[in-house]
């Protein structure tokens, strides 16, 4: 399960690189807690949505759902539900870009009875027609309708990944594309299962109260999965380098606000010791849902513009619900991002306040300027010693909260292996202890910038065109406060507003995409046939 990273000395530009995964017997991560009431068993397969073939985007998600949410050769889905119900045992699965994870949880007292069902689910799925039709319908519905009409914030994040990773296997949503899901046939699922869900491609995780011989038993029984090594051939790619600010506005009917995400490729991941330095800078700039982070203070607290504003140095799954970052989404291909929660549109502000009847755009342009202005200031000036110390101290305690439950602790230990670490939380604690202010400020300068980003804005149809014009022309974007709020702004804030409303952005392109046309531009043509990838993907460099 060890990964070999390309060294920085390789100079040639390659389209994709190959991650080599040693074909050894399964590794096992153990977190034995004899006093616990339950057992948690996880299987992490090193294949995520990047293993979807072109034209069949969504296949990994589909296959994983067929295993975790379908029947087996000896039990129907309904019979499995019946068996698990009194124990309150659960079978769940998640797919990300680079991994698929199955999680089995059961009260320890029933583990003996649960074990054969678990192994049956994993090694002997039925792939029945009934399961196929149900899962296909739901997955199709998600990519066709749900993602576009449930949460504009989640939509904006998915649209940003589509933009960042365009023409790479990372581009499409994990659930796939409209055409891709339609194209997936039962035989595709069977072939995918044989190729990627193999005993050579799995990390086992055991947590809680379980018998000492469980690991050995699992290793033997998992041989039924076959020994395909196809996952070792998976192509990994960095996001495309943006050329200036490349902006896509997703135009929706009746959107109440403008949901904004922006990002650029980031060369380092948790594998790198420099990650600790970047973590401190990022925590100060935009720690997830923390009132003491800088973007939050500037945009939400001082200016009353929205519900929150955060920055990230890696993918943060389901940030709308999770207060603490969940495990299970390790990625070698990384990017930095800023999430600006929905700000008001012009049409909304006009309805709310008669004094704003002559405004042309809402707050999106100003919010983007504000975020990049503050980030550039941080890069230029560096953190103060006081901020550095308080943020470092905060993170040293806060990270321990990521692993409060057995399931989370086990998940983080397994993710650690993905990154070539043994225990990310404790190792990062040590790295935080030793990192210096100078290192933090240098690391920011090395990896962060504000001139080249992809930006996605999901907004109301009436906002799209005026916002496009404003962004393209770099026109001043003064904040439009209501009368009731204007008097509460301090002279310092109003002075800063003047500076920010004229802050030049390096805008290179602004495109409006109708909601119905999003997620179409993928590795396959409209008929689902694979297309030639553009030669735009840089080499994958993992910086240690």
């Amino acid at each position: 399960m060890k990964k070999i990273f390309l060294s920085e000395t390789i100079a040639t530009i390659v389209l994709f690189i190959t991650f080599t995964i040693n074909a050894t017997a399964q590794e096992v991560v153990e977190l034995r807690q004899p006093e616990a009431a339950k057992a948690v068993i996880k299987f992490m397969f090193n294949n995520g949505s990047i293993s979807d073939p072109a034209g069949k985007e969504g296949l990994t998600q589909f296959t994983t759902s067929m295993i975790a949410d379908g029947g087996t050769k000896t039990m129907t889905k309904s019979q499995i539900d019946d068996a698990l119900y009194p124990w309150a045992a659960s079978i769940s699965a998640s797919v990300d870009k680079e991994v698929s994870i199955f999680t089995f949880e059961c009260p320890s007292a029933y583990l003996d009875k649960f074990y054969p069902i678990m192994m049956d689910v994993l090694t002997s799925p039925a792939f029945s027609k009934e399961d196929y039709l149900r899962i296909q319908s739901n997955q199709q519905n998600y990519v066709d309708e749900v993602i576009r009409s449930s949460s504009d914030e989640e939509y904006s994040k998915k649209a940003l990944e589509d933009f960042l990773f365009r023409n790479t296997p990372y581009q499409h949503m994990i659930s796939g594309t409209s055409i891709g899901v339609k194209n997936i046939l039962p035989d595709d699922i069977l072939a995918h299962y044989k190729s990627y869900y193999s005993s050579k491609n799995v990390l086992i995780g055991l947590g809680g109260n379980y018998p000492a011989d469980l690991a050995a038993r699992l290793k033997t029984d998992l041989q039924k999965l076959g020994a395909s090594e196809k996952a070792s051939q998976l192509r990994r790619a960095l996001p495309r380098p943006p050329k200036g600010l490349e902006i896509e506005i997703v135009s929706k009917e009746n959107a109440l606000g403008s949901a904004i995400c922006m990002g650029f490729p980031l060369e380092i991941t948790r594998s790198s010791n420099s990650f600790a330095a970047l973590m401190i800078a990022n925590s100060w700039l935009g720690e997830h849902r923390k009132s003491y982070s800088h973007l939050y203070k500037k945009i939400r607290e001082e200016r009353s513009m929205n519900y929150g504003d955060y920055s990230y140095i890696e993918w943060y799954d389901n940030g709308g619900s999770n207060m603490l970052p969940p495990p299970g989404v390790p990625r070698s291909s990384n990017y930095f991002s800023i999430w600006i929660r929905p700000v008001q549109t012009a049409v909304g502000l006009k309805k709310q306040y008669s004094e704003l009847s002559d405004i042309n755009i809402g707050h999106a342009h100003f919010a983007i300027r504000m975020a990049l202005h503050e980030m550039q200031k941080l890069i230029n000036n560096g953190m103060t010693d006081e901020d550095f110390t308080s943020t470092k101290t905060f993170l040293q305690s806060y990270m321990k909260l990521y692993i409060q439950s057995t399931e989370k602790q086990l998940g983080y230990l397994m993710d650690s292996r993905f990154y070539g670490r043994k225990n990310y939380i404790s190792e990062m604690g040590d790295l935080l202890e030793s990192v210096s202010l100078d290192e933090v400020n240098e690391t920011m300068k090395k990896f962060w910038q504000t001139k080249n980003l992809y930006v996605t804005i999901v907004t109301d149809a009436t906002e799209a065109e005026p916002l496009k014009k404003s962004l393209e022309s770099n026109a001043p974007s003064p904040m439009s406060y209501s009368n009731v709020l204007k008097g509460s702004m301090t002279p310092e804030i109003l002075k800063e507003d003047k500076e920010v409303e004229n802050y030049p952005l390096n805008v290179k392109s602004v495109t409006i995409v109708k909601s119905a046309d999003t997620f179409r531009n993928t590795n396959s043509d409209p008929n689902g046939k694979p297309v030639q990838m553009e030669n735009v993907v840089p080499e994958m460099k993992m910086v240690k």
Binding site: D81, W87, A88, A109, L256, S291, R300, S397, S482, V484
Partner: protein
């Protein structure tokens, strides 16, 4: 067998409670002390080395927004609690909170507002200091008040992208005509836009509800009761009780079914069937019986799920349950329907199952398995101090007493087939129905369907 025995022995040692404790759903003693000012202090020592969860439950939520034009105020006030005091102005509060390294936040719902921090047990003193100061001495500026209102508007804006959230607002106002449950905790958008003008009312709100008699402190984790009580007395002992008694107008009886609809193209059709349910109580069998019944009717083991989701695949998902609340609220059944033309079929199938539950007793083994599921689900979820504090908070805001959790689970064990038929007859009544729908059509009318007569209310 040896392993099982060892596990039981270890478990018993680990729990280290009294023999009575072993019979309770929460395997840890709930240690309570009421301070002289009425503040209840709850400690649950739990082996989470170095870690503690510190919760404060305020028994006031959107239910207590009785004045017109003030919907959403309890939630807005929760935001204001982060805006500082004389001792710790906002910036300083944030910096000290940051120094604890805790995960801290707050949330509001119908009946309560909840403030929580999970962090190092050795920072408990700081946490108590911060919380006691803002609960007693909150003092934000008018400007800070006005500015915070924009964050609430932003919260409404992000939430309302979801058609389910939009429908929830409509169902609340359709189902409740006199009770404050008629508006959501988020409140109406027009009231949110007006919030910056309500500074004086906010001070009144603070005086009414941020009082010891409305609050309970819950600390779970690597702590002793002695230390928690000592910190409570030190920081909250001088807190003065108030006099306000919340008088919420109860809902007038509903006499006929009500309907509400949202037109939404490009979104899966959905129906939300609601009956008026009981208020939560751990003193009678109504709510425990409904909980067991709804698990049998709507879980993944249920006949409805097997038929509608797995076999016929008419629904993408179904769910159902009675919401715990201080006053009578709703028993809600949701169904995401694959095709709009199947809405009537799905509704009729669900109604028939509810009707059947009135007269056809469930088998003893089905009831036993459901009780087992409830027990095991709880046991599986309490492997950290935060989740235990969350569970205790829920029963505290419902009854004022965290021991209610043990009483409620004890009642589950007593539920009989007859209890479930009785509550089905009592609560699945068409005159209390409120049905909300989401479809691509301008309107949706079940009554116009040829098979529209629901098989319901045929009482024995």
């Amino acid at each position: 067998m040896k392993r099982t025995l060892l596990m039981l022995l270890l478990g018993a040692a680990f729990i280290s409670g009294t023999p009575d404790q072993a019979k309770k759903i929460l395997p840890y003693p709930i240690l309570q002390k009421k301070l002289e000012n009425g503040l209840n202090v709850v400690t649950v020592p739990y082996p989470s080395p170095g870690l503690a969860a510190f919760y404060i439950v305020v028994r006031a939520g959107s239910r207590d927004e009785i004045e017109a034009g003030r919907t959403g105020f309890a939630h807005f006030f929760e935001h204001m609690m982060f805006r500082g005091t004389d001792k710790y102005p906002k910036e300083q509060y944030s910096e000290i909170l940051k120094s604890t390294g805790a995960s801290a936040n707050a949330n509001t719902s119908l009946d309560r507002t909840l403030y929580h921090m999970t962090g190092s047990a050795d920072k408990l003193d700081v946490m108590f200091d911060l919380e006691a100061d803002r609960f007693q001495n909150l003092n934000y500026s008018v400007d800070g008040f006005k500015t915070e209102a924009g964050a609430v508007k932003g919260e409404y804006t992000k939430n309302s992208a979801s058609p389910y959230v939009q429908l929830n607002e409509k169902i609340s106002e359709t189902a409740f005509k006199t009770h404050t449950y008629g508006h959501t905790t988020m409140g109406y958008f027009k009231d949110i836009v007006d919030m910056p003008n309500q500074y004086d009312y906010s001070r009144e709100f603070f005086k009414r509800f941020y009082r010891p008699e409305y609050c309970t402190i819950i600390v779970v984790g690597d702590v002793t009761q002695e230390r928690v009580n000592e910190l409570s007395q030190k920081y909250f002992g001088d807190w003065k009780p108030g006099t306000y008694v919340s008088k919420v107008q109860q809902e007038t009886p509903q006499t006929e079914p009500r309907y509400t609809h949202i037109k939404k193209e490009g979104f899966p059709p959905y129906m939300d069937i609601n009956f008026k349910g009981p208020a939560f109580s751990d003193q009678n069998m109504d709510m425990p019986s409904l909980d067991v019944l709804c698990s049998i009717l709507f879980s993944e083991k249920s006949d409805l799920y097997k038929q509608l989701v797995l076999q016929e695949q008419k629904c993408r998902f179904i769910n159902g349950g009675a919401q715990n609340s201080r006053d009578p609220y709703l028993i809600s059944i949701g169904a995401s329907v694959a095709k709009e033309q199947d809405m009537m079929y799905v509704k009729t199938t669900i109604m028939n199952a509810l009707e059947s539950a009135k007269s056809k007793p469930f088998a003893a083994n089905v009831i036993a398995e459901t009780k087992m599921n409830l027990r095991n689900s709880f046991a599986m979820g309490i492997d950290n101090p935060t989740s235990i504090a969350e569970a205790l908070s829920a029963y505290t805001w419902l009854t004022g007493d965290p021991e209610s959790i043990n009483r409620t689970y004890a009642l589950y064990e007593k539920v009989t087939a007859e209890d479930m038929m009785r509550v089905a007859q009592k609560y699945f009544m068409s005159n209390t129905l409120t049905i909300g729908t989401i479809t691509p059509s301008e309107s949706f009318n079940f009554e116009k369907s040829p098979s529209a007569t629901p098989q319901i209310d045929k009482q024995k």
